[in-house]
Symmetry: C3
Subunit: 341 residues, 3 copies
Amino acid sequence: MAIKLSELAKKLDCLFQGEDCLINNVADINHAENGDLVFISNLKYRRFLSSTLASAVVSQADWLEGCTLPALIADNPRLTFAKAAALLNPVTASNGGIHPSAVIAENASVDDTATIDANAVVKSGASIAAHSYIGAGTVIGENVNIGKNSYLNANVTIYADCEIGSNCIIHSAVVIGADGFGFVKDQDAYFKVPQLGRVRIGDDVEIGASTTIDRGALLDTVIGNGVKLDNQIQIGHNVEIGDHTVISACSCVAGTVKIGKFCLFGGSVGVRDNIEICDNVIITGRTLVSHSITKPGSYSSSTPMDETTNWRKNAARFRKLDEMARRLSKLEKNDSADSDS
Amino acid sequence: MAIKLSELAKKLDCLFQGEDCLINNVADINHAENGDLVFISNLKYRRFLSSTLASAVVSQADWLEGCTLPALIADNPRLTFAKAAALLNPVTASNGGIHPSAVIAENASVDDTATIDANAVVKSGASIAAHSYIGAGTVIGENVNIGKNSYLNANVTIYADCEIGSNCIIHSAVVIGADGFGFVKDQDAYFKVPQLGRVRIGDDVEIGASTTIDRGALLDTVIGNGVKLDNQIQIGHNVEIGDHTVISACSCVAGTVKIGKFCLFGGSVGVRDNIEICDNVIITGRTLVSHSITKPGSYSSSTPMDETTNWRKNAARFRKLDEMARRLSKLEKNDSADSDS
Amino acid sequence: MAIKLSELAKKLDCLFQGEDCLINNVADINHAENGDLVFISNLKYRRFLSSTLASAVVSQADWLEGCTLPALIADNPRLTFAKAAALLNPVTASNGGIHPSAVIAENASVDDTATIDANAVVKSGASIAAHSYIGAGTVIGENVNIGKNSYLNANVTIYADCEIGSNCIIHSAVVIGADGFGFVKDQDAYFKVPQLGRVRIGDDVEIGASTTIDRGALLDTVIGNGVKLDNQIQIGHNVEIGDHTVISACSCVAGTVKIGKFCLFGGSVGVRDNIEICDNVIITGRTLVSHSITKPGSYSSSTPMDETTNWRKNAARFRKLDEMARRLSKLEKNDSADSDS
């Protein structure tokens, strides 16, 4: 696929400057070849403009002074570049077809334009809408609904009765709808609380590899539209995540947590059970959210890295912090008594 | 399935009050419909009793004053409700049958009442006992034994020679028996230590989605009866977990750790290698267990969440904590010298 | 398989003492039987030498004083024992064969000596080199190359275009090449940045169960030769890991991180995005690497475990640490003023 820079500018609704040229693909500015489009989203990369072999660059206008390379001028070069990359690397839409090795239950419903790949399994009552793709080895449980144009990679598992919206991307080894973790002590053992809710996932959701989202106990676990979940995330039962919230890898959200819209979580964030986080909250990486957050803003916990020998001394003092605080107060009292005298 | 409240009371061995009625299912008190049984396990939910559309409630006797709703009276409403939920939503026992797409080795042994679902693989020498269920795409390695009435969901992997007890539930993407992480430095590379032990799992164990339990190096990794493991947990080689211990999601137990009975771990707990934790220990979420625990009780680590701007200042001070402690001691000495003078 | 101790000594290039005997296998010193070889790598195990039922032991020369058991004398008993274990438990090399239920694309290339197990899927353009093994249910994407003698266990997923070297071991539920986590805010939603790079994995790499390695955005994610990754690890897009680096379970490396050679990471380590870690760095368990490391050595963060009641008091003080430091400085000023006066 090749496209003229001028045409790309038109499709991306931005200006271009310099000589028109043919663009084949996007590339990193230091590894580009003839025909590549690159971008600079940061002033410190501007120095590479003179040496890159790329045919054109996406940049803000003010970073292009003296630049002889043909350029797309964008307010948000990163966004324009991403859109160019998507244009130049279109995802082939599913054109339909069920691999002979796939196992489709008789009363499952698979749209003619949906694709079911090798050794996938679609159970009874499930429904796969137009242009969706079910990867090799993926298992779609009973009565699951998959919306239009959703792409489930290989070896995904969706448990019975769950709902996946349209335009979703689900990566391999994801498990949606496994039982929530609920037990009640019954004398000297634990009695399993039946997990009777479902998982309902909105439209335009992406779920990273090996992420798990548990079904609700009585009500449903609900993932809003446009939510982006990275790899290896755990979402407990009855969690609700608001639209367009983004959660980075290895985060763990315990049960019955309600997270607002447009939140941003760093990696390895933990959220304890039964709390609420309002809209527009940023949680930095590795934070443990131990109580509800009612005010938008940025929140953190954890301690800073240090050389192990230093860290060990400081960490040991942490166990005496309360005692230190009391000793400090006592000194202050004495000091104030001295001043008074 | 519908059952009279009076009959439910008999089956659950509890009293009922009010008019008898037909119960179809359980529900959340605020989303219940006619025919639903709900519960209150917390005084603050009592106010919903007047507005719920449910047909009956499970509650302690003393919370029912003035309540006109038919009720089951239970010492532990949560437990009685869970048991009612299980009665009203029976898991259909496996009635046997091997899907034509499943691949069963000639000398594997599958009980007539066991079910092997689509595209599952059972390797040579493996044995699947009565009423057990092997989900779609699940792979049972050579010589694995699966006890009676155990339920393995789709896309589970059990490596060769492992043992799974009776009445176990194993969720999707679980991996049992992969090699433990053992290497010895050999000049400028690492030599792999063969992992020759197995994993042995007791009865009544539940293992959450995407949890991994490594096989032992020489001896076995052992999971006791009644143990409940949440999702995304890692259990290293040669770990032993005592009966009825419960571990929450994303916890990571390093190799050769011995955990007692009836322990309770919160989410994202870490346990370093080669330590022992005695019976009846509670570890709160996100704690790193850095040394053996010999006394029952509750243990914690980590630091509290704060607004990022505050947290940054405090975290920076953490790196000077030892210095602060020394400065404090020095002041105390001076102060005491002042008093003496 | 049985072998004379004298022959084992020759193969392992070490001395032996005592009477020659037949060795069948390796074992733990306290569980050994006749015919077993055991080892002591630690003086505190020497006391078991008198009671073990083993036929021979691997040990340093100076720990064998008074020992009547036949012995292999090794500078590094752990290494010699591991090599003996490998000799006595050879991994059966793949002798070729494609299971009839496997689905191999017409233009995939599978060496005659490679094995493709039941229900595995090999997509078009993929190539599986000599003596490699593709486990049951494993899915090999389009144009993937798998080197010689590599062993992919059951239910692994390799996305299109990735490269796996020779002599690699990949455990179940591993996902290699899923999309990196890249989105750009576009008005009130996120636009997905196409992930066009690949994952390239060197030779002699082992990857633990349920570990995920994302493909690069423009350039590749690169895992060096001899790297060992434990279970449940997340490696973000465009990460580069140097040769022979070892990372323990549940660690999470964010995008565009460069890690040097011969590093050693404990469990649950987090590494934030866009930083570099030089060669020969040790990161202790549960540390969050928040900035680049340019000096070899050992680094840590986190706080020590304590009884919850104590911990709660100390953790509360952490939120006042900056204030405490200021109060301490003020006291010091007063104290110094007192001394001056």
